[in-house]
């Protein structure tokens, strides 16, 4: 039997402290008849090759087991694979899980088994995709919006271009926020800055800087001076739970 489900396990789940949880998860998947190939990400093999192998072998649903970064680290090429993506959050906390209506740990399996899907927009920066956001911290870079106007923080600030926003994940627009007072909180326990925020939306634009800037794209660093940004509407299909917010 070739299962249409395949699971990509984060390398951290190989740690002894997760051993029991992983065994219980595999049993839970079998109990819901959604068992499938399991690939464990390792340092010694490129994740892209591992994931492309799973798709070549017939996977239609690719489930990332770990935390948000387990899937987001691979997001730059996933939308082109034509598969439905899901998550089973097992490590730490998850920002994606509540948006996707998926519970933590073993409780997420029933949502996966229900095969409820929704299509969401996917952002592009340069030649790669992003699901959540692009952040340019502490910058004077200029944001050219659709060739019509240019925006920049006069004394420097943080530019954030978000794709996956509650209740607007299929509108074909990216949400831009510019914070000029301070960069986003460095530690989770710090309170967010109450400073006013610039907010607007765009479907296409470019980030331009005279100096090399470091962008954080889905949590991954990217360096350069010029980046085109855009959005592909309903390009990505996600497995979601009933309580989804996207």
């Amino acid at each position: 039997m070739i299962s249409s489900f395949a699971y990509v396990f984060d390398e951290r789940l190989a740690e002894r402290k997760y051993e029991r949880e992983v065994v219980r998860l595999e049993a839970e998947l079998a109990r819901h008849y959604i068992g499938g190939h399991i690939a464990r990400l390792t340092l010694f093999r490129k994740p892209k090759e591992t994931i492309e192998d799973l798709v070549r072998e017939g996977a239609k649903y690719l489930i990332f087991v770990g935390d948000d970064s387990t899937m987001l680290r691979q997001m730059s090429y996933l939308p082109d694979l034509g598969v439905t993506l899901g998550i089973i959050p097992m490590i730490g906390t998850s920002i994606l899980a509540p948006l996707m209506g998926v519970k933590m740990g073993l409780h997420s399996v029933s949502a996966i088994a229900s095969r409820l899907t929704t299509d969401v927009d996917i952002g592009t920066v340069g030649d790669r995709y992003f699901l959540t956001d692009v952040i340019i911290p502490d910058t004077r870079a200029e944001l050219d919006v659709e060739g019509r106007f240019r925006l920049r923080p006069t004394e420097g600030g943080t530019i954030m271009v978000a794709n996956l926003v509650e209740h607007s994940s299929t509108d074909g627009l990216l949400d831009v926020a510019v914070r000029v007072a301070a960069p986003p909180r460095r530690f989770p326990w710090q309170r967010p800055q109450p400073s006013p925020e610039t907010r607007l939306q765009l479907s296409q634009g470019a980030i331009r800087s005279t100096e090399i800037v470091t962008l954080t794209v889905d949590g991954q660093a990217l360096q350069g001076t010029n980046f085109g940004i855009g959005i592909k509407q309903k390009k990505l299909r996600l497995l979601v739970g009933k309580g989804r917010k996207i």
């Binding site: 095969r115 899907t117 000029v180 939306q201 917010k245």
Partner: protein
Amino acid sequence: MAFNFNGKPDPTMDEVPVPSYVPAPAAPVTPPITVIAKGVRIEGDFGGEGDMRIEGEVSGKLTVGGTLTVGQDANIKAEIKTSAAVVFGKIEGNITAEKRIELKSTANIVGDVKTATLTVEPGAKINGNMTIGGGNAGAGATK
């Protein structure tokens, strides 16, 4: 998972995935508010369908589908077309509002004003022509 005749799961048959597609929850009907905060500069042909609040700098052309609010610290050098406007700060350029313009006591407009209804608080400054009411009605006035 398919079942065979004795009621047990049949491992030789593939599961029967019946994907149910659900559209995303509906987006809010009202267009989002665009905010240009202090410390941000915009140059060019800028605009938006919904309401807009400007506290920063804008130069060029500004087209707003909803109500434009110009904050006290805003610095606008633009040709403005909007549905309605509430002005606390300085505008250099002509402003046309389909419905109404409210000039607060701190407002300072250097340019022509054209609108159906104009409300001016004591202390507001206008240096330009005013056309109030529908069509081409209105006379030039300087305050």
